[in-house]
Structure formats: C-alpha cells, structure tokens
Symmetry: C2
Subunit: 122 residues, 2 copies
DNA sequence: AGTTGCCTTAAAGTAAACTTTAACCTTTAT
DNA sequence: ATAAAGGTTAAAGTTTACTTTAAGGCAACT
C-alpha cells in the first residue's frame, strides 16, 4: 500500500495529477480511515500502463473508456482488445511518420554538413 | 504565386493558421497591391518543411528560431544544423519510446486474444 | 501549544497551438 | 448598384492535460 506521494515519486507523476486522474475516472484508489488515498500494487501497475499510453499520445478520454470497460467486467474484453489494437495502429502510424521525417532531416543535415565543409570555415 | 486559400488547400492548413504563423514570425509571404498575401513556390516548400516539423512535435518557438536564423543569413548555418540535429535526436527518442510501447501492447493484445480463444465465446 | 508536513476539496489558472468571432474592406459577377 | 466571395485585422475563445491556488483538516514531532 502506497500513499499518494509515494506513488507520485515512484512514477514521476505529481500528486495533483493523480487526483486529477481520479476525478477523470481513470483510477479509484482505496481510502484509509482519514480519507487519505492508498494505492495497491495493482493500482501502481495500472498507472504504469496509463503512463505508457499517455506518452504515446492516447487521449485521456480513451484511457478512461478503457478503464470503464475494465470496471464493467469480463464481458468487455473484446472491446478492450479493440481499443488496444486501435492504439497500436496509431502508434505504428506515428512511427512511420517519424521515420519519414527522420530521413528527410538526415538528407537536410547532410547538405548542411557538406555546405559547411566546402565553404571557408568561420 | 498562390493566394492564402490556395496554399491552405494544398497543404491542408487553414488560412487562419497561416496568418497565425505569420504573426509568429514563421513565414513572411509577399503582398499584392491590395495587401493580400501571396506565396511563392519557395514559401510553399518552407511551409511543407514546417508542417513536417510540427507533425514530429517540434514546438512553434523552435521553428521560429530556425526561421530567424535562416533570415539572418549564411553565417548561421552551423546553428541551424545543430537545431536540426537536436530535433533528429528528439525524433529518434520518440521512435524508441513508441516501439517500446508497441511491444508492450503486442504482448497485452496476445494475452487478450488468448483469453478470448480459451473462454467460451459470446 | 505550535509549527511542519502532508493530506483534503473545489475552483481558477496555464501553456501550446490553433480556431472562431466580429467588424470591416475589395473585387468581381449579375 | 448590389450582393457574393474572399480578403483584411485584432481580439476573444477553445481544447487538452495538467498545474496552481485557496482554504482548511489531521497527525506527529519539539
């Protein structure tokens, strides 16, 4: 069981952001008698996954959708699978796009280097 | 020479966005006698490049920096090269990050599929 | 008892990159 | 000459994902 600040430090997410995620319905931590949030290992695993999804541009709304499906139980696994597959496709598009621009930059950089080699140096 | 709406259509960027880019100092189109913007082939090439940079997450401020260096002339080519190299590094990091998550998703997707195969179908 | 530190909530603020609105002017077609 | 199409500007609004502020509660050390 981890306190909000422990989880925040572990995952490098601010406590406020974790509360925001709760408001958004992305996570529902347990509470102790004082009303303080407590996170289990499972919560931390889920948040780690969420972080990965965010880092790869999945919008909060979609993450929430996935979370809701999970809470609805077993019978939503097909929909969850489809959500993940959609996101995987988005990731692969992103990779493709980045690679294309990487190549373009590579060419442009070569030209700059060539130019700097042949011009009189400063 | 293209009007703002022609360029907008060609590049799939709204006219307003082009004006916004101008305010930000990213582009300086020519003007005709009526004050209307006119874009040359060179302008379009530059905007195409800008679009690629934006699509790969280069912030407007950095693009502006590159544009300013270009306008300052020849003697800034080393700095421009460095800007491009920095961005290339950022792109490669993004690719790496995306690939990692892609693999994680691949594993998770397999588990879901396995699960759906073995459970009684709906 | 007081202060420090961490917690709570609700609500307002921020940053980036546009996007929309409002008010107006020109040119072209009818 | 009048309306439609498309241009102009400045300024306000939007979206997403937080982040900060305000106002306060609780517990533990000194």
């Amino acid at each position: 069981m981890y306190s909000i600040s422990e989880v925040a430090e572990q995952l490098d997410i601010k406590p406020h952001t974790l509360r925001y995620y709760e408001r958004e319905g992305i996570i529902e931590p347990d509470r102790n008698k004082n009303g303080n949030r407590y996170f289990t290992e499972a919560h931390v695993n889920w948040l780690t996954f969420v972080k990965k999804l965010r880092e790869t541009q999945m919008p909060i709304t979609q993450i929430k959708e996935y979370a809701n499906l999970y809470l609805e139980g077993e019978h939503t696994s097909l929909q969850r699978l489809q959500l993940l597959e959609d996101h995987q496709r988005s990731i692969q598009e992103q990779i493709h796009n980045l690679k294309t621009t990487d190549e373009m930059l590579e060419r442009k950089i070569s030209l700059y280097k060539e130019h700097l080699r042949t011009k009189e140096p400063n």
